[in-house]
């Protein structure tokens, strides 16, 4: 398979970027999108050109490192997959593919397709933690958790923090990410101690980072590689209201 790529190139955060066109040739349908970029980069390296920078780590859809805007969609045209799980068979042979970094004021471009997502880390630092006893390792299942609560918490905890929700949202809102984190810990007995402060602090940090507000378009859920439900945003709103009323 052959493709024409239109890729955003930007040497660093202070430099104005631009789109550059590359040929991706001899691509097999079973290559992942990242492997296709590896192949293009190998060609660029051979020619002594600067390779296309992109984030990646596990390449099996669980680390949340990779992520790019492909043909107008976060993580490309398939649902429920990260960019590393997107295969070239999803594209028509000979077609053009436009590749852009996540666009948000809170996610500044570091280089090419790599964005700085440390705003997410600072939101987690603000309240995405629990207090635990120090000392010996506790017995497994020493805290009884009803199965439905565990399921609810795990559904939210599946968020890998890739930032596709922010990228796809017309407002660059981080509310699906923050909602998932707040709903995850609010559903568990371990999360009760800081429950009130967590909602207030994480939302305040999210606002301070310059993310937009949720318009409930639910684009985030549609583009999330882990299909995190927008009901987590409703949960976050309720947690915020209850924390403020208490």
């Amino acid at each position: 398979m052959d493709f024409t790529l239109k890729v955003w190139r930007q040497p660093d955060r202070n430099y104005r970027g631009q789109f550059r066109v590359y040929k991706a040739e001899g691509i097999t349908p079973d290559m992942s999108f990242l492997e296709m970029l590896d192949s293009v980069n190998a060609g660029l390296a051979k020619k002594g050109e600067d390779t296309i920078a992109f984030d990646h780590d596990c390449r099996e859809g669980i680390c949340g490192s990779c992520g790019m805007y492909i043909n107008g969609r976060a993580h490309g045209p398939e649902r429920g997959v990260a960019t590393c799980q997107l295969y070239m068979r999803s594209f028509k042979d000979g077609s053009s593919i436009v590749i852009e970094p996540w666009r948000a004021k809170s996610f500044p471009v570091i280089k090419d397709l790599v964005v700085d997502r440390s705003a997410f880390d600072r939101i987690i630092q603000a309240g995405g933690y629990i207090s635990v006893d120090t000392g010996g390792v506790p017995d497994g299942n020493s805290v009884p958790i009803p199965k439905p609560d565990a399921e609810k918490a795990f559904d939210a905890a599946a968020c890998i923090g890739c930032g596709a929700c922010v990228a796809a949202c017309k407002n660059s809102s981080a509310m699906l990410f923050v909602g998932a984190k707040i709903a995850h810990l609010a559903a568990l007995p371990q999360g009760q101690l800081e429950r009130k402060e967590r909602a207030i602090k994480m939302i305040a940090r999210m606002d301070a980072e310059g993310f937009g507000n949720c318009s409930n378009t639910y684009a985030c859920e549609a583009e999330c590689p882990k299909k995190i439900s927008v009901l987590n945003i409703a949960r976050m709103n309720l947690e915020f209201i209850l924390a403020k009323l208490r």
Binding site: R103, K105, K170, M206, N213, C214, S215, T217, F240, I241
Partner: protein, 223 residues
């Protein structure tokens, strides 16, 4: 008292305010519609006029009127403020973007539909609210004011178009308000959806039927 400004400063606080005022305006639509249904009573407008002329004499109606103006101001002001913040959150957009693949058109155009509806609101207030409140005695009855206005095909079409726009705005807005309050969950979402259909479909349709009915009645050649 510092709790309120602090609440408003937060993103969710602003959203809650927009949602609360939006639902208040929805509730008003029901009352407004209930009264206006008298237009359909075939008595030459006697019942409608009795209702329209006595309504402004009640103090409670005057108080609700002020509340209504305040709700509109807060809804429009907060909505605009949120729109500005949201625009600032993405200074540089995408070269290629396909939002139609992941979200509904109605949900993405709330500011636009709301803004256009505001034009309708100004025209509507000027046509009916202002004369009903400030020129009683110097004008014809409210019934003839309404039926004369709707006899104009252009004016009637404008009303029908505005109601279609309102339907579009409420289709997203009604359930969106409950999401903002945190009340949407697996248990309540279907109920919110069903009640929402009454609001976005039935109410604007009933309002749109009024200009259509009056226009139809005014066309002598049809009868």
């Amino acid at each position: 008292m510092s709790a309120l400004p602090e609440f408003y400063r937060s993103s969710i606080g602003k959203k809650i305010l927009a949602a609360l005022t939006g639902l208040f305006l929805c509730a008003y639509l029901v009352v407004h519609l209930a009264g206006n249904l008298l237009l359909f009573k075939d008595d030459g407008g006697a019942a409608f006029d009795a209702y329209a002329e006595t309504l402004p004499n009640f103090l409670i109606i005057r108080v609700i009127e002020i509340g209504l103006f305040a709700a509109f101001a807060v809804h429009i002001g907060t909505g605009t403020y949120l729109w500005v913040i949201n625009r600032r959150a993405r200074p540089r957009g995408y070269l290629v973007n396909k939002p139609e693949e992941n979200s509904s058109f109605a949900s993405r155009t709330m500011f636009l539909t709301g803004s256009i509806f505001f034009i309708f609101l100004v025209v509507h207030m000027k046509s009916f609210w202002y004369p009903s409140r400030f020129s009683a005695g110097q004008r014809a009855s409210m019934y003839s004011l309404v039926t004369d206005a709707f006899a104009d095909p252009l004016y009637s079409s404008f009303y029908v178009a505005a109601m279609a726009l309102l339907a579009f705005h409420l289709r997203h807005g009604f359930q969106s308000a409950f999401q903002t309050f945190g009340l949407r969950n697996k248990k309540y979402s279907p109920l919110i959806g069903s009640v929402g259909t009454i609001f976005w479909l039935l109410i604007p349709a009933a309002f749109a039927a009024m200009p259509l009915y009056c226009f139809y009645r005014s066309c002598q050649w049809l009868h």
